[in-house]
């Protein structure tokens, strides 16, 4: 489905810690509105998609958001 690459998509360098911002960011990772759920939704919805271009797009976006590494490295 996707292949792990031993690198970050974008460099992360946190200079000052901010628990309040961290608690906001973590809601974008897991939870009902997070990337994790979104990823599974894209990948499930593609099975009912009739158009070939959009089957490809749902597959690509779904596996893209499965690459949550930048987001989780923050913690």
């Amino acid at each position: 489905m996707f292949q792990y690459e031993k690198k970050l998509q974008y460099p992360i360098n946190i200079k000052t810690t901010d628990p309040k911002l961290a608690s906001l960011i973590i809601t974008q990772y897991g939870g009902p509105d997070g990337e994790l759920g979104a990823s599974i939704r894209y990948l499930s919805q593609r099975f009912a998609m009739p158009y070939p271009e959009l089957k490809a797009l749902l597959t690509d976006i779904g596996s893209e958001v499965a690459k949550l590494h930048s987001n989780s490295t923050i913690f």
């Binding site: 690459e5 031993k6 690198k7 998509q9 460099p11 959009l54 690509d60 893209e64 590494h69």
Partner: protein, 85 residues
């Protein structure tokens, strides 16, 4: 992490980003020859820079071990580990 490694990673991510964005554009515009050409170019660039990076800093994918005495994939550091402090 050395600045040379950071620079290589930045070039790698740049090529990867461009390859990925043109890839997704092609999903909805599969007959766009110009975009196809751009995608191939960035894909090739990504492969070229990956090879350079891997020869210096170890494998990016689990299959890419270069030596024949150790499975280099297991070597530290991992991307979430800081090496500068």
């Amino acid at each position: 992490m050395s600045t040379e490694q950071e620079m290589l990673l930045r070039r790698l991510s740049g090529a990867q980003f461009a390859a990925w964005e043109t890839h997704m554009f092609l999903d909805t515009h599969p007959n766009d020859g110009l975009a196809l050409e751009a995608n191939k170019k960035y894909q090739a660039k990504f492969l070229e820079v990956s090879k350079e990076y891997e020869s210096k800093y170890g494998p990016l994918n689990h299959g890419d071990t270069y030596g024949d005495t150790r499975f280099e994939w297991v070597n530290d550091p991992w991307p979430w580990e800081r090496t500068d402090d």
